[in-house]
């Protein structure tokens, strides 16, 4: 059984169709790229999967459970995490708190222990803190733990956003243009990072990206969207050659790198 199965998913805003009959089956452990011109409906897919928008029609089943009608935080707890195209960190909080917030979902102590600092509070806080620091260590952010997230350089903010998403212990990770605003050097590092976390955390990843070098370098399967519909699907090599993709998205010179 696939981890995620989306069938005939459609979404329209007023009269505007943002996504039409979108089908996708994702197996456990896959690394899938979602590409397409601006306004093709890529981010809409993520917003539907994470419950930010209700779908107009269609089905979304994750690990055997229907995602429709679930609130975003419920979906997160079911095991789907995401990052955002325009970074959405908790800017005025510390790096550590950013991760801690993600960690506490699912396991938590009650209000009374919180108010009076009772043993359950002490114990859980310790757990959360240790786990968070460990995660920051992995993402080379531990030294930054006490800093305001908004003060981090751009690349580190992107890393922190991924770290934070991982702290929710997802099975499926949705990355929305993680390389946007990165230089080629950083993009390269990101490429290996994505691979590594997929293996290390046994994740399934769906990636939206304009940077073809990243998509082609990391994805095993690529889905191309245009005007809300899938126009092509296949391995990176197949996609590069596909005339429809070239016409709609890549241009006559094909992929640059």
């Amino acid at each position: 059984m696939p981890l995620l199965e989306v069938s005939k998913l459609s979404k329209s805003f007023g009269g505007l169709v943002a996504l039409y009959n979108f089908n996708l089956a994702v197996e456990q452990g896959e690394l899938i790229g979602l590409i397409g011109p601006n306004g093709a409906g890529k981010t809409t897919v993520f917003n539907l999967l994470t419950g930010l928008y209700p779908p107009s029609s269609g089905k979304m089943v994750f690990a055997g459970k229907d995602l429709r009608g679930k609130k975003p935080h419920q979906i997160t707890r079911m095991g789907i995490a995401r990052t955002f195209q325009n970074i959405r960190l908790f800017g005025n909080l510390t790096v550590l708190d950013n991760v801690k917030i993600a960690y506490q979902s699912g396991h938590n102590y009650g209000l009374i222990p919180a108010f009076f600092r009772l043993p359950p509070f002490q114990k859980k806080e310790k757990e959360i803190e240790e786990a968070s620091l460990e995660l920051l260590e992995i993402f080379r952010l531990r030294e930054r733990a006490g800093e305001r997230a908004a003060n981090l350089p751009y690349g580190e903010q992107r890393r922190l956003e991924i770290a934070r998403a991982l702290a929710t212990k997802p099975r499926l990770l949705l990355l929305d243009e993680p390389a946007a605003g990165m230089n080629p050097q950083e993009t390269k590092e990101l490429q290996s990072l994505i691979r590594w976390i997929r293996d290390h955390f046994q994740l399934t990843v769906i990636l939206i990206e304009h940077d073809m070098s990243l998509v082609m370098g990391v994805c095993e399967r690529v889905v191309v969207l245009d005007y809300g519909s899938i126009i092509a699907e296949g391995t990176p090599e197949e996609i590069k050659e596909d005339p429809r993709v070239i016409e709609a998205y890549l241009g006559e010179e094909g992929v640059a790198s």
Binding site: L96, E125, E129, A145, G146
Partner: protein, 398 residues
């Protein structure tokens, strides 16, 4: 690490709280009030609503009191001493009223005048009582202000100078029944105001006891400016008169709007109507065929009244309303009480107040009854082309 941070914070909170309270204590130490013994002047505290919701009334009262006390000072003061007038603003807020009263008490005043409204007086009452300082209110009309019904005991230190609600309501009910000979009326009252509600209640009680009928009662709130909805509704019930126990700024609008709606029956009211502004708001014509109860009339030709009106206009640039007149009397009454007490001693002043007999105020001759309410004649005034005309003076038959 985080834990250390938080315990540091905790310490900080504790310390901060401590520092703040200590600060308060220190301040209190520095500013300890001087005792009144060596004071050359007799201090009278004025606690009024000078800002906030009912600033209009509080300011008028205060103006009257200050005018009276200044005149007395000019005439040599009392007991050979000048009076120091300490004016404080309670923001039309009960907590502030407590605050101001305590401040005045700690400054060593021998008497307090004000506040103007029942709630604010009741907030200041425990302060006056526990400090044993007499408090004279100009305009708080609720019975409970001077008399504790629960304990069935008079509030020893509280006095008032205005006629109480039942007196005015009774006189008006008599007048309607006997003189105007009307049987079917309606009431419009300010539901956010105890004065208005008290009068309305009492009027209904007395009028219905005589066999009259109140066919409609409508309310409004003090921020209202449009009264036509209520008036339209009342008018549908065909009353022969409408009783509006409220203040002039609302009454003016109500009468004006009522006449616009073609409501031509008499309007009746109480001392809250008395203000030169009433005519300019409602218009002289609209006010024809209206009557209200009052203690005095600013158009009263008596020399005392006219002297007051002139002095007030000179000092403040406006004509006095009934609040100002009550304030003026309150100031003079207080000075008289001090004189009769023979010493600037709060307890003696209180005793003297209780014994006041036929004090010649501009709002009428005044004595206090056993509940510290004034016994005064009530005047019925008729509006004719924008001028007040005295119809009759009645003594309430309690």
């Amino acid at each position: 690490m985080a834990k250390l941070v938080s315990s540091r914070k905790l310490r900080y909170y504790a310390l901060a709280t401590a520092v703040f309270f200590l600060l308060g204590v220190l301040l209190s130490g520095c500013g300890a009030p001087q005792k009144q013994s060596e004071a050359e002047k007799i201090k009278i505290g004025i606690n009024y609503e000078l800002s906030g919701k009912v600033a209009t009334y509080g300011t008028s009262c205060k103006n009257g009191v200050v005018l009276a006390l200044e005149e007395i000072n000019k005439a040599g003061g009392v007991l050979g001493k000048q009076i120091e007038v300490i004016v404080r603003d309670n923001k039309s807020d009960t907590a502030e009223s407590v605050n101001v009263a305590t401040q005045l008490a700690s400054m060593g005043v021998v008497a307090m005048i004000g506040p103007a409204t029942t709630g604010d007086v009741m907030a200041a009452e425990p302060v006056a009582t526990s400090n044993r300082i007499p408090l004279l209110t100009t305009s708080a009309t609720a019975p409970t202000v001077t008399f504790d019904e629960e304990k069935n005991k008079v509030r020893e230190y509280i006095f008032r100078i205005c006629i109480i609600d039942p007196d005015q309501a009774m006189v008006m009910a008599d007048f309607v029944w006997n003189n105007l000979k009307l049987k079917k009326g309606a009431i419009m009252m300010d539901t956010g105001n105890d004065y208005s509600k008290g009068l309305a209640e009492k009027f209904k009680e007395y009028f219905e006891a005589k066999g009259g009928k109140i066919v409609a009662t409508e309310g409004f709130v003090d921020t209202d400016t449009v009264f036509k909805p209520q008036l339209t509704k009342i008018w549908a019930k065909k009353p022969e008169f409408i009783y509006i126990p409220a203040y002039y700024n609302q009454v003016g609008l109500i009468v004006k709007q009522a006449r616009e709606l073609g409501i031509d029956v008499p309007f009746l009211g109480a001392d809250g109507w008395d203000s030169p502004e009433l005519v300019s708001i409602a218009g002289a014509k609209a006010l024809n065929n209206t009557y209200f109860t009052n203690h005095y009339s600013s158009q009263d030709p008596s020399p005392e009244v006219q002297a007051f009106v002139k002095a007030y206009k000179e000092k403040y640039g406006v004509e006095p309303d009934s609040f100002a007149a009550l304030g003026y009397d309150a100031g003079r009454l207080m000075a008289e009480a001090i004189k009769q007490a023979g010493a600037a001693d709060p307890q003696k002043i209180r005793d003297a107040l209780e014994k006041i007999k036929d004090f010649p105020g501009i709002t009428g001759k005044l004595s206090f009854d056993e509940k510290h309410n004034p016994i005064k004649e009530v005047a019925i005034i008729k509006m004719v082309d924008g001028k007040q005309e005295l119809v009759t003076k009645l003594v309430p038959k309690r």
